[in-house]
Amino acid sequence: MHKQYSNKWQILVFLLPALILFCGILIAPIGASLYYSFFDWNGIGAKTFIGLSNYKELFHSNAIGFMKALRNSLLLAALSVFLQLPLALAFALTLGKRIKGERFFLSVFFMPVLISTVVIGQLWLKIYNPDYGILNVFLRSIGLDNLAQIWLGNKKTALGAVFVPTLWQYVGYHMLLLYAGVKSVPYELREAAMLDGASDAQINRYIVLPYIKPIIRISVIFAVTGSLKSFDLIYVLTNGGPLHSTEVPSTLMISMLFLRNRFGMGSTIAVLLILLCFGFALLINAIFKEEN
């Protein structure tokens, strides 16, 4: 047995397909993206080495507007952590203490996560439609005609209009993670606290929340890195417009690559996104450690 399972060649054969696929598509491209980011390159012709020029241009050029895109995605991250997560946590705590209809509400709240973002985006395009969209129809029907507007076409409202469905869609995702955590709290702990006369709020505050802290940390990391990477809904709703007011790093990266053929610059944005995601994940981990 031991001999049969220690055969080096056999082990390699079992691992090889996974290693090729994983290294070829996920690991090597990180290095390749970093390499491309030092070049001026249109994707087909010769590459010109330009050192850190792409990075410098990205941070200083107002024409590209990377800082604005980054600010937008950081704003989304903040809203996600301070609006979406508390709402998700409230649902998780409520559903986690054995109430009637627990399964039903859980399943309904999680449903938007499974629907394709393109479908969600198309539906919201219809909701926001200036002439026939139900949002404006509703506002007009209750006499608030002056509030009805071109939600996605107006520089002032577009960012908010894009954020609402983005935040809404993933409330259920965070709720599900946190709910799994709430459910893992041993019942004896709750029971003991109840016998001591603790209220629901006190049980949540002193028993459940400390217990599910590791999952809250995961949720915060996902909320922040997910916001930095966000693409699908924004692409469908505005694709960064009007006048770049809803641009985020991902939409900027795609337009650099496939509208302007600037593969070096596109790679630079990709590298910065990876660094930001890992950086924020480490930072959030550190903050949660500090608190302990």
Binding site: S107, L114, S116, Y132, I134, L257
Partner: protein, 277 residues
Amino acid sequence: MKNTGKGARIAIYIGLIFWALINLFPVYWMFTFSLKNNAEIFGENVIGLPQHWLWSNYTSALKTGHMAKYFLNSAIVATATILITLGVALMATFALTRMIWKQRKNLNKFFMLGLTIPIHASIVPVYVTLSRLHLLNTYWALIIPYSAFSLSMAILVCTGFMNEIPRELDESACIDGCSTWGIFLRIIVPLMKPAVATVGIYTFLQCWNELMFANIFISKTALKTLPVGVQALSGQYTTEWGPIGAALVLATFPTLLLYVFLSKKIQDSFVAGAVKG
């Protein structure tokens, strides 16, 4: 719930029902307007059930809107991705959990890195490579990257299940003269059905809904998958909403159907992927 007052309980339920309605309404609205004509959608009957059930919206979406083709493409890509992911992941997991060698713990950690790597990292290099190999605008342009990005999650799930299978089974098979491949194929794989189901569903949902790769690697109408196809169709039918609604329903119902029957399993797979990552 016992030590909550009646008033508080009512408030809680109002909150829950309100949020449930917000989540159900877009889906309800999508289903109803997919069966209406413009006159109903645009004024006569905005949120009610359709007065005249206009099934022709579905025929236009399927034929003129190419939805039948997009649907088939998505099904092909999803099926191939699931098969490749499962085959590759089961083999790797077998080596990682059963076979005996020094670095297996570290290699497992290495594979788990994939749970956190954003797809942005791959876009440019994979695009360039696919284009050099003349694989852009083929099913492989999606199947290979999708399989690679599903791999970490698949190995994670398979590892959990494979560790549960008692080692005695391997030993008795070995004594009976079974080869390593024989043990893998005849003993281990048949016992991995629950893992196969979880990985299959999770992988299906990921590639059925994926937009960024599909948008970049495929430009031929004949090969587009649903997310990109729906985008194209909505550009084609800017003034007529009925067929767009029909297309959205067609793209969504497999997922919803799966969810109705397997909601617990789907939810568990999402939790498993997150908590380890």
